[in-house]
Subunit: 190 residues, 2 copies
């Protein structure tokens, strides 16, 4: 998606340690009108898939998922990283490693809200090694729901997680796919 | 807002310990079309206030804030509960106590994204004792920005946090204000 690639080149910042900061329009300050354009692109890609639910993971996926879900007319379910008094009863859970935060966490969703009849689109901001996406796919499978695919804003393609998942026959659509990232700049996959 | 009160009576669940669970349409599964109606109500209330930014706190505020922000045509800034490699540089921070999770945490926003010229509307899902809202107000004040007010989905009015803040001259608008909550049911303020 050319609009997103341009925005990454304009506003994204690279930092040592393979960091691409997009916290000025994606994951701290959220440019909702821009994200709405990304949501329309997800609808163009998955709008004919009879999606019944959008699944994401807290926290930075939630805004993108909600804006996208408005276009689909379906609810959002977000996987939680900590159990609280607000979530009780039986859950599906999966272990996810965060390379950004440097820790493992169990993420979970209530079994009440993910059903075998659901057709699920996973939405998230980043895909790198794929741990978060693997966890969400695992949860969809535990529920016996149908996975329509995953829509990702920014994939670090060179980290390989997306292609490993694609090789299993899962549709993964990333609006910007980064081929390389270093102090000299950002190159997109062509 | 009658629509929200009705929905709380239909879908909300009370539990011992002053719990009102609305995780089937607000803070786990998110009914985005319903939240969009709440966002329109926030716009009716604050649409003439020249809001430049909507501030919320992760995680459950983000979806409501993003959907509301689409109507205002302004970006969302969400306060984070943990520093990560994605946030660097100087931050405004404030301590917030979560009664739901039973812990204190520092929440923060990057100083780059909250400016003295900003006119800020705070949006959140719940207001009870007011700790999260106090923290966000503190952050707005640290930035020297103008606080337009706070828009809350559900206020537990009997816990008093909202009225303490209103007594300081801050506009707090809650779409549903609960007067009492126990195993016998939910009563709204009239």
């Amino acid at each position: 998606m050319e609009l997103l690639e341009k925005r990454i080149l304009t506003d994204g910042k690279t930092a040592p340690g393979d960091i691409l900061k997009v916290d000025n329009f994606v994951n701290h300050l959220i440019d909702v009108e821009f994200i709405n354009e990304c949501g329309k692109e997800f609808y163009r890609l998955f709008g004919d898939c009879n999606v019944t639910k959008i699944l994401t993971i807290e926290a930075s996926g939630i805004g993108i998922a909600c804006i996208t879900a408005l276009g689909f007319g379906v609810p959002v379910l977000f996987a939680k990283k900590a159990k609280s008094a607000n979530v009780t009863g039986r859950v599906y859970s999966s272990k996810v490693h965060s390379y950004t935060h440097g820790n493992d966490s169990n993420v979970f969703v209530s079994q009440d809200y993910l059903l075998p009849t659901d057709r699920v689109l996973i939405i998230d901001d980043f895909l790198a090694k794929g741990s978060a996406l693997e966890g969400l796919i695992d949860i969809v499978n535990q529920a016996g729901a149908t996975l329509v695919g995953a829509g990702i804003l920014i994939e670090k393609e060179y980290q390989g997680g997306g292609n490993i998942i694609r090789e299993r026959g899962i549709r993964v659509e990333s609006l910007a796919k980064i081929a390389s990232l270093d102090e000299n700049g950002i190159t997109f996959c062509r």
